[in-house]
């Protein structure tokens, strides 16, 4: 699973907008919890270079997927307890959703 994430994340690296979280303990991450079919908090504001880590606490699998047609990022289906992280390197507003439950939406604002 970790390998899969790394592979997916390294694809993102090529896009330049985001880079994978390396999972180093010392690297601070802003946490978003996926619980009760919602991203909490639904909107976060971070500065460039910050890592965001999503943790699924539902029994139901969820994904973290780019909501725009660019489809720049998409996690694999996160089972209960699994995490996904991204480092946002560029400023902008990034809308995402759960591709399994598209009414679940969130936003990352990077300044």
């Amino acid at each position: 699973m970790a390998q899969g994430m790394t592979r997916r994340a390294s694809l993102l690296l090529g896009l330049g907008a985001m880079a994978p979280g390396l999972g180093r303990a010392e690297e601070a991450a802003v946490a978003v919890v996926i619980e009760e079919f919602a991203f909490t908090p639904a909107e976060i504001k971070i500065t460039r270079g910050t890592k965001v880590m999503w943790t699924n606490k539902d029994d139901e699998p969820h994904t973290v997927s780019d909501a725009t047609p660019k489809k720049a990022f998409k996690s694999q289906a996160l089972d209960k307890g699994e995490t996904f992280s991204l480092v946002f390197k560029e400023a902008g507003t990034f809308a995402y959703f759960c591709s399994l439950h598209p009414h679940m939406m969130g936003t990352v604002i990077v300044t």
Partner: protein, 299 residues
């Protein structure tokens, strides 16, 4: 009563006409189950979620097995079984194996459509290769017993904030599939997510279902069978009867009665099997909607 009566089916539909049917489970004498008069019937199961393991059901293969056993009691002479998706919980090969093996014990001719849980890997390729051989992208049609069956895939390429989606390519295929068909032929459409909007707040509907329904409008008898919402609901619109089936794994709350559509965890001991079940559809004289009977695993 010795027959799955049309009057009963219509009664259900009257309730449906007033809004939401909360439960029409059971209610049919066991003796009525065998279609001895030669009418065509078939059965539906849904949402087996093999791989789910948590409250309220720690033995999902066990309840699927029970459902298959129950089928033997109620199916009558039919050999046709439809599964309306979420065969697995996480699209894992071992989960597909288990489901395949258990459903195989029915000895029935099973036809599947994907649920969103079945296409989590490789854009669903593994599921399609195994469960929808007639349709490389999860949709296909076939004829049996004079009825035209159409399996649809409305669980992929969903849009943020949206509902289920068929997509332009599948809609074009559907239009071609129906072109030239006699309007008197009964049509059964089966797809995972409801093709009518049950509850948009929870994503329980399909964005482009209206387009599909325009192709079906001219037919005299259209039955739409869905899963996804893990509970029985019915609605009739003109000649189209919509129906959603119980899960064989876990119940989900009625729309708006819980903060989210996740599994109902606090089911009283012994009550779980009254909330899981199977569906049997019976063609009545080939006219109007088909009679649909839901049977819980227990109760």
């Amino acid at each position: 009563m010795t027959e799955v009566s049309r009057r009963d089916a219509l009664t259900c539909m009257l309730w449906a006409g007033t809004g939401v049917v909360w439960s029409v489970a059971g209610g049919i004498p066991r003796a009525a189950s065998a279609a001895t008069n030669g009418d065509f019937s078939f059965v539906q199961i849904s949402d087996s979620h093999i791989g789910f393991n948590g409250p309220p059901n720690m033995d999902v293969p066990g309840t699927l097995n029970l459902a298959i056993t129950k089928l033997k009691d109620v199916r009558g002479p039919t050999s046709l079984l439809l599964h309306t998706g979420d065969v697995s919980h996480l699209s894992r090969p071992a989960q597909f194996d288990t489901a395949d093996q258990i459903i195989g014990t029915s000895g029935m001719d099973a036809h599947f459509v994907p649920g969103e849980h079945d296409v989590l890997e490789d854009d669903g390729k593994k599921f399609f290769e195994r469960f929808t051989k007639a349709g490389a992208r999860g949709y296909y049609s076939f004829d049996q017993g004079g009825v035209h069956f159409i399996g649809l895939n409305n669980v992929q390429n969903l849009k943020s904030g949206g509902l289920g989606l068929l997509g332009a390519e599948q809609l074009a295929w559907l239009e071609r599939d129906l072109a030239g068909r006699a309007a008197s032929q009964p049509i059964v459409v089966f797809a995972h997510i409801p093709l009518w909007t049950v509850y948009a707040e929870w994503g329980w509907g399909t964005d482009d279902a209206a387009q599909a329904l325009t192709y079906l409008k001219r037919f005299g008898s259209v039955t739409v069978l869905n899963g996804h919402i893990h509970q029985v609901m019915q609605k009739v619109e003109g000649t189209v009867a919509f129906h959603s089936a119980m899960s064989t794994a876990f119940p989900q709350p009625a729309p708006g009665t819980a903060p989210n559509p996740g599994p109902m965890k606090n089911v009283a001991p012994g009550q779980l099997n009254t909330l899981l079940g199977i569906t049997r559809v019976h063609e009545v004289a080939g006219k109007g909607p088909l009679a649909i009977i839901d049977t819980p695993l227990m109760g």
